[in-house]
Subunit: 358 residues, 2 copies
DNA sequence: CTGAAAGCGCTTACAG
DNA sequence: CTGAAAGCGCTTACAG
């Protein structure tokens, strides 16, 4: 099957490629130039005859034409892709936020790539390079770690926004998060008001500035009130739950054991919970666990977990807002959005749910 | 700043674009043609002088060059993107699977787009069209709904694999899942062996063939044994948890209420659990709840939930295997991989976790 | 072992 | 109001 003439067909032609129409397809059917179709598509200047617009639009609709992104972004040097990089993909709270970002992006026809860095600086850099090769318009970080690549990208002005966990480098970077320090003091305040007497804390990874700030706020307020805080340890690999379990093990061996424990994320508290039940301790009757994030599942399966609720549904729109700022007035101060938080004390009085339809 | 000569520069030139090297950058620095660089990059035929290879490779490494995906896929009419479409992004079990797929794709330099269809046929079709405009190499469906677009894409031979929930259309389509019917009978078998006497079931959405099959297997086996099964209702929108809650409400109003309830997914069981606790019923002492999937969080926060465990870590590699089959021998029967399942009965004897390092 | 050239699908000055 | 043409970065026959 040798064919050797000049105007070669496309190089590969997979079976289903025939199905994907191009600008040319539309232009031929409509009897106009591809320029015109492109302009209709983008609502561009150089106004086009209403009749033409309508005809072209109908055609586009009919064949389900969508411009090939590769052609478009090759030309414009810009894509409609944003990337969400995380070191902790199993975190359900992150999933919820990722979902909210994805939804918010929908309105602007953006698409979201999800990538796992495994919390490894080298992999993170690899991912960053990869994302650039896709001309991603923006990168969302959840749990970034310090790395040379991160530094370089930050300096190059690649639009990046950190969610919840601030940039791990000593650089002012765009952020959507909560006032971690303040939230920590709020939890301390609550503990003090309940007069729990003995206190402990279970921490996330060393590199997490969010975890650090929550802890500092908590500890500072406790110290002010003259209370000591026992530290269970640090997250040292494995899952957060495992880590919470191990740190709880350490804490609960103390004499006396802490009556109330602040965990800097719900996942840690889940692990601690298991240890408590193993020891026959009831939560919160014997040991109070206080988490952070309010994982969406809590209200169903963790009625024993008090926590700091952060509005995960708001992250999507806020991240979007930051990106828009970044895309338009580049050069201004890095935008930071601090979302409100509040304490959720459980068990709470729960009203039975009633069917709202039917 | 009017410039009008022929060899125009790139159309837009964002500030950070300078940072992204191209084939030309490398070729100039190396003093070879872009053809050669491209060949080194792809390990292509027409063997290249080892010295050249090395020089080029060093350069690539140095500047952190990665080929622009838009250029590449415009030329090859193929991308390295796979898409995961779901109607249920908040499902932690799905997140776990998505993570496993993403990891598996890593090895082959693929990237994963995550998109939410909201279970709406129209949105699903919109997403499908959009994914085609990105030339996605494959689409993974979790909870697809019947739609004209789905049908069309299936017929056009776009590589798609359904995970857990089979294709909702009467078409044989690639699948990675479990033997749902059999799993349903297994649960029934267990219930019977425990002699729980009164039985109920809480179901997912009508369109879910997976949920349906689990139910049928369960009901058939129960019927064989002469037991009746009370149906709580159907998922009719809202979250799965809410739905489980409402169906449990209905079931538990019966006289006598079911002693054991099979929920076709863990999320439904979570909702049911809340209703049980509201009514002061203990799980599993008063009401046995049996779920499906074994959400990774269960072992930490739901020691009361027995469930059918499906090996979510195996999904990534299996999905990949199916895609590879689809990409190579197109035309053969749609590959289907049935992963093994087993019952997890909780509360189980749990050995305390010990630190494996340090 | 290496390179010049064509062309994938798009957008956008430029010229009518 | 409309179109011809250039060029984004890549891969791949084809020709040395």
């Amino acid at each position: 099957m040798q064919r050797g003439r000049k105007p070669t067909k496309s190089p590969k032609e997979p079976d289903h490629a025939s199905a994907a129409p191009s600008l040319r397809t539309i232009s031929q059917h409509a009897g106009v130039s591809i320029t015109t179709v492109s302009r209709v598509l983008n609502g561009r200047p150089g106004r086009i005859a209403p009749a033409t617009v309508e005809r072209v639009q109908r055609l586009i609709e009919e064949v389900g034409y969508r411009p090939h992104q590769s052609g478009r972004s090759l030309r414009t040097r810009e894509s409609s892709i944003i990337a969400a990089l995380t070191s902790d993909p199993s975190n359900a709270y992150f999933s919820a936020i990722a979902g909210s970002i994805e939804s918010a992006g929908r309105n602007d026809n953006h698409v979201m790539i999800l990538a796992n860095t495994m919390g490894d600086p080298q992999r993170q850099d690899e991912r960053l390079l990869e994302m650039r090769s896709y001309l991603t318009r923006g990168i969302v970080h959840f749990g970034a770690v310090p790395s040379p690549g991160l530094q370089r990208f930050l300096e190059q002005g690649v639009p990046m926004v950190f969610i919840i966990r601030p940039c791990p480098l000593p650089i002012e970077a765009p952020l959507v998060g909560v006032d971690d320090y303040r939230a920590g003091t709020d939890v301390a305040e609550h503990f003090i008001s309940q007069d729990y007497r003995t206190y402990g804390v279970i921490l996330g990874i060393e590199a997490s500035r969010a975890s650090e700030r929550r802890y500092l706020g908590f500890r500072d307020r406790m110290k002010d009130a003259g209370h000591e805080v026992a530290v269970g340890g640090r997250h040292i690999g494995g899952s957060m739950m495992e880590s919470g379990y191990l740190q709880a093990t350490t804490l609960l061996e103390r004499k006396p054991p802490p009556r109330a424990i602040f965990c800097t994320t719900d996942m840690l508290a889940y692990g601690a919970f298991r240890r408590c039940t193993e020891l026959g301790l009831r939560v919160p009757e014997d040991v109070v666990l206080f988490g952070f994030d309010d994982n969406p599942l809590n209200e169903w399966v963790a009625p024993w977990l008090s926590t700091v609720r952060t509005p995960y549904e708001s992250f999507g729109p806020s991240v979007w807002e930051v990106f828009n700022t970044l895309w338009t007035d580049r050069g201004s101060d890095p935008p930071q959005i601090i979302l409100p938080h509040h304490l959720v004390i459980r068990p709470e009085d729960r009203a039975p749910i009633t069917r709202h339809d039917a």
